[in-house]
Structures are given as structure tokens and as C-alpha cells.
């Protein structure tokens, strides 16, 4: 054995030794981090990034008066990433999470998997009092309450007052108006999200609810796809093939859609309210010409039922401080804090009384339309298998221009039934 080889090995052995030593040093430190400090329980809040939410957390910590201390652990920006982070740790029965910020479509899934605790007694009645019914429905599973709605969200119809006199009351009317503008050679596009993702399911769900149909039954056992659902398919297909959508409709998600409307690429937009303050900042001149209205309905004379989004706060089943977590969660979503978040972070409240507050008027010029839609809201199918349903639905419906109402309805019914039974393969 030659020298360089021996020295080489010796060098590696010392390096390996150093690495092992480093490991031994760091390993115990890794176990800390989420431990309690000096006897005061730390409540770990896992929530999406919200710019001013830390101030709400601070406020609740002051109110807690030493009973507990909330630590805001930020999750990734994308909803899917947030879910993955939480699911992975819950599946491993991680005791380091206390309050979870759940998107409205995850509550049933987490409840079915027994990852979150039920809200009972006083906690339950406090949450249910004064909260809008739509968001509350998203927090229920099998008649029990599993989360406290923190904020909600609902899309609006935005239109250019210089191109459109009166906002359309139905989708067909909107198609007609847009076609007329197109014939006149003016900007005419209806901009909304149609890529193969959750947003497409939101759009379809709005149409189904507005047409009075159902995708799955109440008990979430059977795929229904009734007559209303089929009419919604027809409407979606009419919309996609009328020649009035933006060129990128079949690949558009929220932000690119906003950007297109913002640069004057359309006459109508169906998108979340966040687009308005963004528009005001980017192009105040254009913002002057933009107004909002309720999303069009499917049938003449019947107002639309719009799909709601938003976030609920749930308590992890593996939390070490469940009682304090319930309390902390209730503080975080109190009326006062919801108002703060609404004004500073642009997230609509779930407690009805907040909408009447005078401070809301300035930050939320569209609050009345929002409230109107919230009071008659539609939720996406509430089932633990929702992720499956969403995946197959968006795959079958994409691209919307290729929909053949009768055939697609059958395809969807079969696919959603498989998804509910957790059979087969997701696309």
C-alpha cells in the first residue's frame, strides 16, 4: 500500500470523524426549537404567509397574558405546498404543530383522517355565532365542527365601464356583450382561469351551483352529476368556444390572468378581489374605469351562487396543548382581528358583523357585493376525498373547449365515483 493512499484514507478518516462529531453536536439541538420556554406553553401556528398576520399574533399574545405564547411558523406560499408540509408531519404524528391554517377544501380530509380535533361545547357555539353560513359549512364534517373559519374569499365580475354599460346578469348575456364588442373591433375578451388546476374546478362549481345542480350527494358517497351539472357543462363549453376568451384561457391561473386584464387585454375579468388594489397600484388610470358586480348566473332571473375560498383554523390532534390552542385560535379569528386582516391584508372576514364596520368601507369598496355573494354561497364538494375529486375533475374538464356535455358528464360521473371510493389512478 503506497503512501498517498494511506494518507488519503487517514485524511478521510479524520474528516469522517469530524463529520460524526458535528452530527453528535447538532443532533440534540435539532430536538429543541419548538420546545416550551420557561413553562409558558408555545402554541405553534402553521399558517400561510400573510403580510401583517404577525401583528395579529402579537396582539393575541398580549391578550393571552402569559397563559400561552403563539409562535407563527410560516408555510410556503402555494396552497399545495402548505398541504404537503402539514400532511407529512401529521401522518408522522408530529407533536410540534398546534394550530393549522387549512384551506377550506381540506377540512373534511383532515377530519376524516383524524388529524384534527372536534370543536365542542362553548368553543363551538362561540365560533358558530355570527359566522356566515357558507364558510361555516366548509368547517363541518359529519355534522360536527372541526375548524373555525378565519377568512373567506369569493371571486367577482370586474368590467370596464368604458366598454360595458351594464354588467351582464347571465353568462350568455356576457358572451353576447363580448361578441358585440368583438364585432365592433374593440377590446372584448372575458378573462378568467381555465388551466388544468383547482381554479377550473372553482369555475365549474360556480356554474353547477348557479344552475341548481349537484356534483356529489349530501353524504359524499355518490357522484350525482344531475341535470344542473350537465347544464353547467354546456354553459362552460359555450363560454370556451364562443371566441371571446383570452388566447391563454386554457393555461391561465390567477396571477397571469390578472396581469392580462391589468395591461388592458380584456373587457371582463372573473377573479378574486385582490386584483383591484393591485390594479390601483399598477395603473390608476385604468382602475378608474373598472367596476365590479356579482358574477353572472346561469339561468335568467336566478342570481349566481359563487364558490367560496378562504382559510379555517383547526387544532392538530397531536397537539400537546389543545385547550390553549382552541383559545388562541379563537383569538386569532376574532371579529376585531378579522377586521384588521381584512383592511391590511385584503382577506374578507367570515363574521357578518365586521362588514358593517365603517372602517371597512374605504379599504373594501366592493364589500357589499362580496357580502351579497357570501350570503348565498356555494361550496366545493365536501368530502375527505376532495383532492381526488378535484384532480379528476380538472383533468376531464381540460381544455374546456373540448367538452361534449353528455359524454363529459358520464365520464365525470364515473371518474368522481372512483375518486370517492379511492379506486383507480389519478391523472
Amino acid at each position: 500500500m503506497s503512501d498517498p493512499e494511506r494518507t488519503g484514507r487517514r485524511r478521510v478518516r479524520t474528516r469522517a470523524g469530524a463529520a460524526a462529531a458535528a452530527l453528535a453536536l447538532i443532533a440534540p439541538m435539532a430536538a429543541c426549537g419548538t420546545a416550551d420556554e420557561g413553562g409558558i406553553p408555545t402554541i405553534n401556528l402553521y399558517y400561510a404567509p400573510e403580510e401583517n398576520f404577525q401583528q395579529v399574533v402579537d396582539r393575541c399574545n398580549t391578550e393571552a397574558e402569559g397563559r400561552y405564547r403563539i409562535a407563527y411558523r410560516v408555510l410556503p406560499r402555494g396552497a399545495d405546498d402548505q398541504r404537503v408540509q402539514m400532511v407529512r408531519r401529521l401522518a408522522a404524528e408530529d407533536r410540534g404543530m398546534d394550530i393549522l391554517g387549512l384551506d377550506v377544501t381540506w377540512t373534511q380530509e383532515f377530519a376524516g383522517a383524524k388529524w384534527i380535533l372536534e370543536w365542542t361545547g362553548e368553543h363551538r357555539s362561540e365560533v358558530e355565532e355570527g359566522t356566515l353560513e357558507g364558510p361555516l359549512a366548509t368547517a363541518r364534517y359529519e355534522e360536527k365542527l372541526y375548524a373555525a373559519p378565519k377568512n373567506t374569499n369569493v371571486q367577482l365580475l370586474w368590467y370596464r365601464t368604458d366598454l360595458v354599460d351594464t354588467p351582464p346578469a347571465t353568462w350568455d348575456e356576457m358572451i353576447e356583450q363580448a361578441s358585440r364588442l368583438k364585432a365592433e373591433g374593440k377590446t372584448h375578451q372575458v378573462i378568467t382561469m381555465g388551466a388544468q388546476y383547482e381554479g377550473l374546478v372553482v369555475l365549474y362549481n360556480t356554474l353547477v351551483a348557479s344552475a341548481g345542480g349537484r356534483i356529489i350527494d349530501e353524504e359524499a358517497n355518490k357522484a350525482v352529476m344531475d341535470e344542473g351539472a350537465v347544464r353547467a357543462l354546456e354553459q362552460l363549453q359555450r363560454f370556451a368556444t364562443a371566441g371571446i376568451t383570452d388566447a391563454s384561457f386554457a393555461n391561465a391561473i390567477e396571477d397571469p390572468a390578472r396581469l392580462v386584464f391589468q395591461s388592458g387585454g380584456g373587457a371582463f375579468q372573473i377573479n378574486w378581489p385582490y386584483v383591484y388594489p393591485a390594479l390601483q397600484e399598477a395603473d390608476p388610470e385604468l382602475a378608474e374605469k373598472v367596476r365590479w358586480a356579482r358574477i353572472p348566473g346561469v339561468d335568467a332571473g336566478t342570481p349566481s351562487k359563487v364558490t367560496i375560498g378562504g382559510y379555517n383554523l383547526a387544532v392538530s390532534a397531536y397537539s400537546e396543548h389543545p385547550q390553549e390552542s382552541f383559545e388562541a385560535a379563537m383569538c386569532l379569528r376574532s371579529a376585531e382581528n378579522q377586521k384588521f386582516s381584512a383592511i391590511n391584508d385584503g382577506v374578507p372576514p367570515t363574521i357578518e358583523s365586521v362588514y358593517d364596520d365603517p372602517e371597512m368601507a374605504q379599504a373594501y369598496p366592493m364589500k357589499d357585493t362580496i357580502l351579497e355573494q357570501l350570503q348565498d354561497a356555494a361550496t366545493r364538494p365536501r368530502s375527505p376525498a376532495y383532492q381526488n375529486i378535484s384532480t379528476v375533475t380538472s383533468a376531464v374538464l381540460s381544455p374546456p373547449s373540448a367538452i361534449d356535455p353528455a359524454a363529459t358528464a358520464d365520464e365525470l360521473r364515473e371518474a368522481i365515483q372512483d375518486a370517492l371510493d379511492s379506486k383507480g389512478v389519478l391523472p
Binding site: M1, E5, R9, V12, A16, D80, V84, V87, A91, E109, G112, A113, K114, A195, Q196, Y197, A247, S248, F249, A250, N251, P256, L259, V260, S263, G265, P384, A385, Q387, N388, T391, A395, S398, P399, S422, G424, V425, L426, P427
Partner: protein, 326 residues
């Protein structure tokens, strides 16, 4: 192989050849005891490999075995009570499913096209990086930057570039939105992949090029060989091991394409790859049984491809045959 330059060195070389002729004889007899030198060589070999082997096995043994075990079960994380052992049923479900084969086809297409194009472009790029007379440092660094950029960010920038209205490339292809049609979005995905990973090929090929002895090339050109002949008869054979590594690893990676598709089309218009399918079933559907089955199937496909490559390249593979040893 170098030519011994001194008589002493020539003797040493001769000794070496004697050694190698002696050894096969020993092995052929099989039962004969190993020489001390041979035993020491074995010990050294095992010792040198031990740390690497230990690390790799310690980290991946459990996860891989666990995945295979999961693929034999019906296990949906949302319904933990319904877990049961089902043998190969998951495999049947996946292999008879239309979504799987569509994704498989798309993945195969992307793999074959991108690897083929990258091999040619990569070779060209390697030649330029190696032999250019001006601005060597700049070219080499610039050529490697695409590989160094975070994939997701690059994918987003491509998405913006190809969306009409927001990007500079969309205007080059006429009116429609290229990302909303199947054929054009596949082309864009492949372009994004090629742009991103050609440097990987080029780097490996360039280092292979660096080992081609200059005198051999000079000798060949003095013998009247053209540039093309020099390339195919002198450079390529010496580069065979480097080409194998580049091709092998690039193919393995290409088959598992995910990021670019996820950002550019989210799998719409049937542009999903098998990795996206596995991800959807495993992470979104929380169906550990089906998701693990897909992973095992992906692994088996890739293993077959690797096997074919190694067989094709024969003795250029690492760890093979005594004939290569000097």
C-alpha cells in the same frame, strides 16, 4: 496508453504485462490460494469503497424497501383503517390504466427526443468549450449557467416568455397561445429541458475530450485523416466512458422530468409525465399504495434502460472486465 520512454520504464511495463498474464492463470485454477498481494488488493478495494457504500445504504435502504413494501398494499392515508395487503393488484390497476400509458408515452417521447438532441448539441458545445481560441473562460462559464439556475425559476421565465402579451417569444409564433395546444406545449417543454441540461452533457463530454491525447490527434492528421475522421476514429473511442456516463445519467433524469411540465402546463392537455402522475397519486391523493407502485414501475423502466445502455457500451462501463486494466 503511453509509450515507455526509458529502458528501465520499458522493463517495468514488461513486468506489468507479465503480472497480468500471471493473474488469469491463478484465477482459472479457482481453488488455488490467493497471493498476499491479491489479498491486500481486495482489502484495500473493500476499504476504499466502504464509506461510500455505507452512506448510500444507510440512507436509502429503509426508504426503498418501504416503498416496495407499500406498493404491495392497498393503503390510502385518508382511510387508514382500510389498509390491507393485496399483492400485485396495484400493479395490475396501474398497468391497465389509460392515464398511466398516456403519461408513459409522453415521458418516453420527451426522453428520447431531448437526450438525442442534447447528445448532438452537447458534443458540439463540448468541442467549442474545449477548443475555442478566444474567450474560453467566458464561453465555458456562460454555457454552464443554464444548468446552474434553479429549475422552477427558469420554467417560470419560459412560461412568461411563451404567453402572448407578457413574453417576447410568443410573438414569434403567430397568434395562438402555444402553451394551450398539446403539440406546441410539448415542444416548449422539450426546449426548456434541452436548454437546461445540455450543459450537463457538454461538461461531461468536455472533460472526456480533455483526456484525448494531443499527439494521437497530431499523428492522425499527419497521416492525412480529415477532421471528421479524427473525430470518429480518435476522439470518440477515447471518450466512450464519458459518453456512457453522460448518456446514462441524462436519460435517467430525463425520464423523471417533473418541474418544467408542472410549471409550464401543470400537465394539462395530456402532457403529464409519469413522475407527475406518481406525485399526484402519492402526495395529492395520499394513495400510498398506488403512488409507490408507480415509483417502482418508473424505477424498473429506468433500470431496463440503464441495463441496455451498459450492455451497449460494454467494456466502457465502470467496474467491468479485466481487459481494460493496465
Amino acid at each position: 496508453m503511453s509509450v515507455p520512454t526509458t529502458p528501465v520504464a520499458a522493463e517495468a511495463a514488461a513486468e506489468q504485462t507479465q503480472d497480468s498474464t500471471r493473474k488469469p492463470a491463478t484465477r482459472r485454477r479457482g481453488k488455488a490460494p490467493l497471493s498476499e498481494g491479491k489479498k491486500a488488493e481486495r482489502r484495500l478495494g473493500l476499504l476504499l469503497c466502504a464509506p461510500a457504500a455505507l452512506v448510500m445504504i444507510a440512507v436509502t435502504a429503509y426508504p426503498i424497501l418501504y416503498s416496495v413494501w407499500l406498493s404491495l398494499q392497498r393503503y390510502d392515508l385518508k382511510f387508514p383503517d382500510e389498509r390491507q395487503f393485496v399483492g400485485l393488484e396495484n400493479y395490475v390497476t396501474v398497468l391497465t390504466n389509460e392515464y398511466w400509458w398516456t403519461a408513459f408515452g409522453v415521458t418516453m417521447l420527451i426522453t428520447v427526443v431531448t437526450v438525442a438532441v442534447e447528445l448532438v448539441l452537447g458534443m458540439g458545445l463540448a468541442l467549442i468549450m474545449h477548443r475555442t481560441l478566444v474567450g474560453r473562460g467566458i464561453v465555458r462559464t456562460a454555457a454552464l449557467i443554464p444548468y446552474g439556475i434553479v429549475t422552477v425559476v427558469a420554467a417560470f421565465s419560459w412560461r412568461y416568455a411563451w404567453t402572448p402579451g407578457t413574453g417576447y417569444l410568443a410573438n414569434l409564433v403567430g397568434d395562438g397561445a402555444p402553451l394551450t395546444e398539446r403539440a406546441s406545449s410539448l415542444a416548449i417543454i422539450m426546449l426548456a429541458e434541452i436548454w437546461k441540461t445540455t450543459p450537463f452533457m457538454a461538461l461531461l463530454l468536455m472533460s472526456g475530450l480533455a483526456l484525448v491525447p494531443d499527439d494521437l490527434l497530431k499523428a492522425a492528421s499527419m497521416d492525412g485523416a480529415s477532421a471528421w475522421q479524427r473525430f470518429t476514429k480518435v476522439m470518440l473511442p477515447v471518450m466512450k466512458p464519458a459518453i456512457l456516463v453522460a448518456l446514462l445519467f441524462r436519460t435517467l433524469d430525463a425520464f423523471r422530468v417533473f418541474d418544467n411540465i408542472y410549471v409550464l402546463t401543470a400537465g394539462g392537455n395530456e402532457t403529464s409525465s409519469v413522475s407527475m402522475l406518481a406525485y399526484n397519486n402519492l402526495i395529492r391523493g395520499l394513495n400510498l399504495g398506488i403512488g409507490s407502485t408507480m415509483s417502482v414501475l418508473i424505477f424498473l423502466t429506468v433500470a431496463v434502460i440503464a441495463f441496455i445502455f451498459v450492455k451497449l457500451f460494454g467494456t466502457a462501463a465502470p467496474g467491468s472486465s479485466e481487459e481494460e486494466r493496465r
